[in-house]
Amino acid sequence: MSTVQPTYSQLLSLAIPQIILVCTALLVMAIDLLPLRRATLSTRFTSAGILGSIGCAAAASYIALAHPNGNLLGGVLLGNAFTELLQIAILALTVAVLLLSSGSTFTRHVGEYVLLILIATVGMLFLVSTQDLLVIFVSIELLSLSLYTLAAFNKQSRFSWEAALKYFLFGGMSAAFLLFGFSLLYGLSDSTSLSEIAAHIHGLSPLLVIAIVCVTVGLGFKVAAAPFHFWAPDIYQAAPAPSAAFIASGSKVASFIVFFQLASIGFAGAEGAATWGHFVRGWIPVIAVIAALSMVLGNFVAIRQSSVRRLLAYSAVAHAGYMLLALTAHTQQSLAALVYYVATYSAATIGAFAVLSIVEAQTGSDRIGDLPGFSRREPVLSFCLAIFLLSLAGIPPLAGFFGKFYLFVATLQSSRGSMPLLWLVILAIATSAVSLYYYLRVLKASYITAPETSAARTAIHVSGQAIPRAVCVLLAAAVVLLGAWPSLLLQPLITALPPRF
């Protein structure tokens, strides 16, 4: 517990980025409802998206220039080089999503839509800069409630609300688990600060076991790890493309970071071990089993999908499995690997959704069977799609490959000499070999199969998508650049790592 009395100016300086975002959100709403009321939908979306992006950019540049630094009330609100980096990454992903939404026409409530995206981002920013149970829970709820609404925004589509309702019901349940787990943790330690909790954990009491399980269920739902992934395919398929991209990217970054911090700081002392054949009770074996399950289930079920969005959903489950490896290792290096992985993964996923949204605008379908002809119609976009999917598959020299490599190295390095997690790494590499098959299926449809289906023939040219297209190209360039020159992100990441993990 920090002994220095916090001042409001300190609180304010740490929360300025969030404040900027909230003000932007209100401003966007006001502008959309007053001067732009009579404008066309796509103009409204474009201007709201651009305005929101400017707000995010302002927040990011404040973080980058002012370096808000401090630790309020023993971890309630943190500011250091590491949170800075994470916040900037989240803001960048939000900008990509906002720009992606420009030009869409799925709803008339444009101001509200952008407002919700920005509010969700505020939740994420708090989430990565706190080590306090209460703030974690409130931010998660802020984030989740915005996401439920964002998922249901396409009121013309029945599937959109059905999926959103499912998401909401599952989400509510997982929040209950999370809260129950948190309350047990509080009961065990009399504190909401993660480090205080760790200090009070002595051995693995039955209550702590229940707490660990509940927290894992709650956060496993957020990161869409098997077996808590059932909402993901529906949401990915039915939510409006920007919402789906947002759920699949920024919220993943924040949830994984908080999961990592909670497990590695809060449960310190109850690690256990997941060496093959020598499981020791603790949180690591729980995570290890979930990781293994996610990798196997995600990759094998993805093979059978005929909708590209559902395929991405199951691949997200598989990727959640890979990323959980970083938790099982819970070292500094594995945290760096996790951040690198989740950031590049999110970039590739947003990119894939951006391309898909254009495909859907043209053919009205995201089925693999309706992709043929895409490469002839849109050579640049289909090339971008190839880059995103191959990066997800982990083909060098794209970012996804280095992410995997670094993650696996960090996982093996967790303890010197014996490599207790080798079996998980082997499983991960083996299942990622499977994943190439379904990514190639999509690319095969786009590049090789001759266009025969009616959807491909009746593809219409849709105008006014200059910004989403530019987003695709920029994201593809980022994926290639970060893959060919990983030090760009890695070097700042390693220097920014917090000293204690």
Binding site: L390, I395, P396, P397, F401, F402, F405, Y406, F408, V409, L412, Q413, M419, L422, V425, I426, I429, A430, S432, A433, L436, Y437, L440, K444, Y447, I448, P486, S487, L490, Q491, I494
Partner: protein
């Protein structure tokens, strides 16, 4: 300077992608120019470094925090294989002069493949090597799936999955070795010099060896090879058989065997009378030789004959590696070069000279066409290539097979007998294919339905180039031996020398 072989190829590929669609003849010339100039660079380097000593081309930090260098280097072995790649690449471009469908893309993928192959041969950092190694997969897939023939999508997917599974195994081994050696460097000599425990090497060696061996057509993981070769367009099957399979064999020697030399030692308990991985792989290699030859003997499709003959010839290479004596290893490397040239030539005859004109590869259908008088050049080329492949003195195949048999005789006298049989069957299947395709008895004097196009000049030049190279090695093998044997004596192979020869 040698690094420019890679850059020219990649740069050429990038330009080709950006070219307008109708610039087909320019695309061909550009591809030829890129292939010729990189081959010229390779030749110049080959002539300059007559001693075969190891030399570094580029060595710059790439990912400093992980100790990964951008390190390109060459010694006699890689130099001769780089030269082989250059020659086959030129021939491949000349033999695909007739590609009309999306010419730019075809040559772009082609040059990407070539550049990646150069990269594998020249990389000295294992991370870099792996990046290039995986980079080979994607252009291969698209070349076959887009421009191939019989069951092209199936063949391409099978090949991609097999390659990816192989490289996944390699990745497991490499990461384990990297972490086991303290995660400070991925450099080949550093890792090869690290004293891994004998137990670790025993486990890691087969994983990495089989991983690379899959690409080298190691029986029983060879099944991608015949289907892939048959499905591929001519230039791609030339590259596949000529160069890409050599990548597998080269990496078996360069990575698997140098990193884990103790993995070749004897087991503590013999299993089924086999006492080491060395014997296991030698037996698999001989099975590959006999199996490939026997299956080639009964094929009806002309291209499958060549496809299976490749499996058989690759068996010689793997057997040569497992002899662990100077004679066998040098023979294996010469066989890589020799088979690279001859397989390229055979596939060119079957795919380009015959199939592109007659539109059938059925041996029974080709016979009545009286090809020996319709396409005398094709017939003569096939006779020469077939004879050279079966080991007629004066050609490269003879030198290579002789050295491997002598090496095998010293190491495994019993297996050498099997090899003898393999050579014998080799004579029979070449003879049978030649007889059926070109010199079948004339039954009716049916004029062909449409006169066959005469052999074009580019084809003649390419065939002459390949034949001349093979003859040059056959008549003066010292040319290559002088450059590879010093390389085999270099400190990199010290571990192997201490183990065996």
């Amino acid at each position: 300077m040698l690094a420019w072989t890679i850059y020219i190829s990649f740069f050429g590929a990038a330009i080709l992608l950006l070219l307008p669609k109708r610039a087909a003849s320019f695309a061909r010339c550009l591809a030829l120019f890129a292939a010729t100039s990189s081959c010229g660079i390779a030749l110049a380097a080959f002539l300059r470094h007559r001693t075969g000593e190891f030399f570094t081309i580029v060595d710059k930090p790439w990912i400093p925090s992980l100790g990964i260098q951008y390190h390109l280097a060459a010694d006699g072995i890689s130099l001769s294989l780089v030269l082989l790649t250059g020659i086959v690449a030129i021939a491949g471009v000349l033999f695909s002069w007739n590609i009309e469908d999306r010419t730019n893309q075809f040559f772009a993928f082609y040059l990407l493949l070539i550049g990646a192959v150069y990269g594998v041969f020249l990389s000295y950092d294992l991370f870099l090597l792996f990046v290039f190694y995986e980079l080979v997969i994607i252009p291969k897939y698209f070349l076959i799936a887009n421009w191939g023939s019989t069951r092209r999508e199936y063949g391409a997917m099978k090949l991609a999955i097999y390659s990816f599974v192989g490289s996944a195994m390699v990745l497991v081994g490499l990461i384990a070795a990297y972490v086991g050696a303290g995660s400070s460097s991925m450099s080949l000599d550093k890792l090869a010099g690290f004293p891994f425990s004998a137990h670790f090497q025993m486990v890691a060696f087969p994983v990495v060896f089989v991983g690379f061996g899959i690409l080298a057509g190691l029986w029983p993981f060879h099944t991608w090879a015949p289907t892939g070769h048959v499905a591929a367009p001519t230039a791609a099957s030339m590259l596949l058989a000529g160069v890409v399979m050599k990548l597998g064999a080269y990496c078996c020697l360069r990575v698997a065997m140098t990193l884990f030399p103790l993995g070749l030692g004897t087991w503590s308990h013999p299993v089924l009378g086999i006492t080491s991985w060395r014997e296991t792989f030698a037996i698999l290699a001989v099975i590959g030789i006999l199996y490939g030859a026997l299956v080639a003997l009964v094929q009806r499709d002309f291209k499958f004959v060549i496809g299976y003959s490749s499996v058989s010839h690759m068996g010689f290479i793997l057997l040569g590696l497992m002899t662990l004596n100077l004679m066998g290893l040098s023979g294996a490397i010469i066989q890589m070069i020799s088979h690279g040239l001859l397989a390229g030539l055979l596939f060119a005859v079957v795919g380009r000279m015959v199939y592109a004109r007659t539109h059938t590869r059925e041996l029974a259908a080709l016979g009545p066409m009286n090809l020996s008088s319709a396409l005398p050049f094709a017939a003569v080329t096939f006779v020469i290539a077939g004879m050279a492949g079966m080991g007629l003195p004066g050609f490269s195949g003879f030198v290579a097979e002789l050295m491997i048999v002598i090496g095998a005789w010293r190491a495994f006298p019993v297996l050498a007998v099997g090899v003898g049989f393999g050579i014998l069957i080799g004579v029979v299947y070449v003879w049978r294919a030649m007889q059926k395709a070109f010199f079948a008895e004339r039954r009716h004097e049916l004029p062909p339905p449409h006169p066959l196009q005469p052999i074009t000049v580019p084809e003649k030049i390419a065939a002459a180039l390949l034949i001349a190279s093979s003859v040059a090695i056959g008549l003066y093998p010292q040319m290559v031996l002088n450059i590879i044997q010093p390389a085999l004596h270099s400190p990199l192979f010290a571990g192997l020398r201490q183990g065996g020869w």
